[in-house]
Amino acid sequence: MSVPILTASGIAKSFPGVRALDGVDLQLFPGEVHALLGENGAGKSTLIKVLTGIYRRDGGDMRLDGETIDPLSAREAQDLGISTVYQEVNLVPTLTVTENLTLERQPRRFGFIDWGAARRQAEAMLKPLGLDIDVSRPLGSYSIAIQQLVAIARALHGDVKVLILDEPTASLDSKEVGVLFDVLRGLKARGIAIVFVTHFLDQVYAISDRITVLRNGTQVGSHLAADLPRLDLVSLMLGKAAEALPHIARDQKQPAPRVPVLEVKGIGKKHMLDEVDISAAKGEIVGLAGLLGSGRSETVKLIFGAERADKGSLALHGVPVSIRSPRHAIHLGLAFCPEDRKHEGIVGELSVRENIILALQAKRGWRKRIRRAEQIRFADEMILALGIRTPDREKPVGQLSGGNQQKVILARWLITQPQLLLLDEPTRGIDVGAHAEIMRLIRRLCDDGMAMVMVSSELEEITAVADRVVVLRDRRRVAELERSDVSQPAIIKAIAQ
């Protein structure tokens, strides 16, 4: 193979309290599509931002054509020949295509913008991409796919050596993806190195020449796509458990008869989830596994009514229901701990006590205020039962640690005495000690008869507690594993098949 255009070695970047990148290596060769993969928090975005000058690296070396570079802004990186198209198209939809393409560099005549020349320039920029559209129309009047191509055209202005595409296919349908890939092949032929960030494995193998996988801020592998079977790729992304959690077994003195609580058939919503079947019985923990973007969170959100499903059916205790809103779901005995604790879980300014009673109060209605003495009793009981570490119950929740915030949200739902608890990434951002504690708590709750659906990207977590595992890929269900079959290799195999 030829000489690399860009060589990054030992890149390190820290933020207060987090080591986002730790000695990451990346080599880009001319004319290749290089897939950059990893789960949430693996460091993909940070690496891209370091490459494009938005963040300054703390350590390591970056060489472009053999010369050390140290871009301090996106503009500087672009002048060096490193261009980026972000996931959210950062163009202005209300401006015309011409204006978007020539923004900040309009051709001028006598100090005024020469619109005729600008239009010709815009058309010339789109031509190599095979895009023949009316450039005087507002960008927003075109489809997302075309907007994406316009964004790429803009990024290709000047002498581009490296083009970084951050999840360019996230909102495209399969035909549009095909168009985009044709364009990428054209760019490859021009000798441009393309970094392709995505979480669709099919697309990775359809277009990329090489694959680099990040996990928890380190580079765990860089291979030719042809040499890396799907199974190995998924293993790299999810990682092997360094020290597997002990299996927290279900209390199985007498196998109780299976009492179904939740039965979902073909639930889905356009652009969100295709069709997923899932069921959960009394005392059962159902794990929901899959890669980022496979539809895990979407499934539980649709069940809880946080988003309204537009197809499929749902039955609780054998009675079909159509859940209209979270409020409706709560009245039916459901509870939901969302993945994004800070934005969808806690009300940071309110106290531990107020956060704990919030859902129960909402369930009872605004007129029937829970008396203060009762609030205090609930709060103190839960602080004790879940081991919430807080100086007192009146402390604003925003000031507690992540693990304790998660316990407060669990407490909020437990006092509503739900029959079905939906947990989305219950241990994200929680330290190891609190992690095991929360897992044991979850197991105990289910032994008391609650049904639970648990989404997790940590395979160790799922294999440790789940009685059954539903595996999702590309927004549909691809497998279901019974207890005896639940193991990390089995889940990885199901995702990769």
Binding site: S325, R327, I330, H343, E349, L358, A359, A362, R369, I370
Partner: protein, 325 residues
């Protein structure tokens, strides 16, 4: 400031500001604190501050509730004008009895509030824009109601509310105190107050916890509409006439300031009606004392702005952090 608990600390700076303003007055005009009894009525600058501060107090209480949800209500002055016009026309033109006029005017205020709430909560229009609509249109509507005239009326009942005395105290001051207590009971003896703070603190999380954030927002603007109606009634009763152009003009800005001086954040969350009333007293005593001090009137707004800035500066989180280091 370790000896104060967190809720206690919130009272500190607004209260100090009030005391400082009042003490400054004592230096400027020694007779400031004297309260005389004339015809069984209490008279003096302090009573005057309470008396004049009443409309602002009503409006600020409603504003505190709206700001708790993370919103803002710019239309309060316009609602005052609409309610004043309705009241005057019903009393003079239609000759209705005050017992009928009072509930009708309150309903008009409620309707204005519900309109704002509908735009904000159900059509997802930004509060500042949504209430701007009524702010702009409201005075026009009020003029249409009065046919562009200043309508005057006579009513013993409303004279009592606007400028009467009971047990030596202005009736309107007693009314606002009574209303504040009622509102506090409504918000704190039910779960409404908690829901307002929860929606203002984190609307997405509140929705997932089962709170109907839209209805809570609607209720907040409805409360603000009723508060403005009450302010309109007091102002109109005081001058025994409706002035569609000037009634409650710029009162929304003083109300927002009063809430902010009371320590509330415009992004929503915690609110305290008591602190809001302290904020009202700060603004009103400032206004009154500038008048009493004999400072040329063109200085009024500038001095007011400087004092408000000073209070906000003392409360700013950044300064608090510096001090706690």
């Amino acid at each position: 400031m370790k000896f104060l608990t967190l809720p206690g600390r919130r009272w500190l700076w607004p209260s100090i500001a009030l005391v400082v303003i009042l003490l400054t007055n004592l230096l400027l005009s020694p007779g400031f604190f004297s309260v005389r009894i004339v015809d069984d009525h209490l008279y003096g600058s302090l009573i005057d501050i309470l008396h004049r501060g009443t409309p602002l107090a009503f409006v600020a209480l409603g504003m505190a509730v709206v700001i708790a949800t993370g919103g803002i209500d710019l239309s309060v002055g316009a609602i005052i004008a609409i309610c004043g016009a309705t009241m005057a026309v019903l009393l003079k033109g239609a000759g209705l009895s005050p017992a009928l006029v009072l509930p009708i005017v309150l309903l008009v205020g409620l309707a204005c509030g519900l309109w704002n709430g509908l735009l904000v909560a159900f059509l997802d229009i930004q509060p500042i824009v949504a209430t701007l609509i009524l702010m702009v249109a409201g005075r026009g509507i009020a003029q249409m109601i009065t046919d562009g005239q200043i309508v005057t009326f006579h009513s013993d009942f409303f004279s009592l509310i606007g400028s009467g005395f009971f047990l030596g105290l202005p009736v309107r001051v007693l009314v606002v105190i009574g209303f504040a207590i009622l509102l506090a009971l409504l918000l704190r003896r039910t779960a409404l107050g908690l829901f307002l703070e929860s929606v203002g603190g984190n609307a997405a999380a509140s929705r997932l916890a089962g709170i109907e954030a839209r209805w809570i927002r609607l209720a907040a603007y409805a409360v603000s509409g009723i508060c403005s109606a009450l302010a309109g009634i007091v102002l109109t009763a005081d001058i025994k006439g409706a002035d569609a152009n000037n009634a409650g003009l710029w009162l929304e800005l003083d109300a927002i300031l009063a809430v902010v001086i009371g320590g509330a954040a415009l992004k929503g969350g915690r609110f305290a009606l008591g602190l809001t009333l302290i904020g009202v007293l700060v603004i009103q005593s400032l206004t009154t004392s500038i008048l009493v001090s004999g400072l040329p009137s063109q200085y009024t707004l500038v001095v007011k702005a400087i004092v408000v800035l000073a209070v906000l500066f003392l409360q700013s989180p950044r300064l608090q952090r510096l001090r706690s280091k």
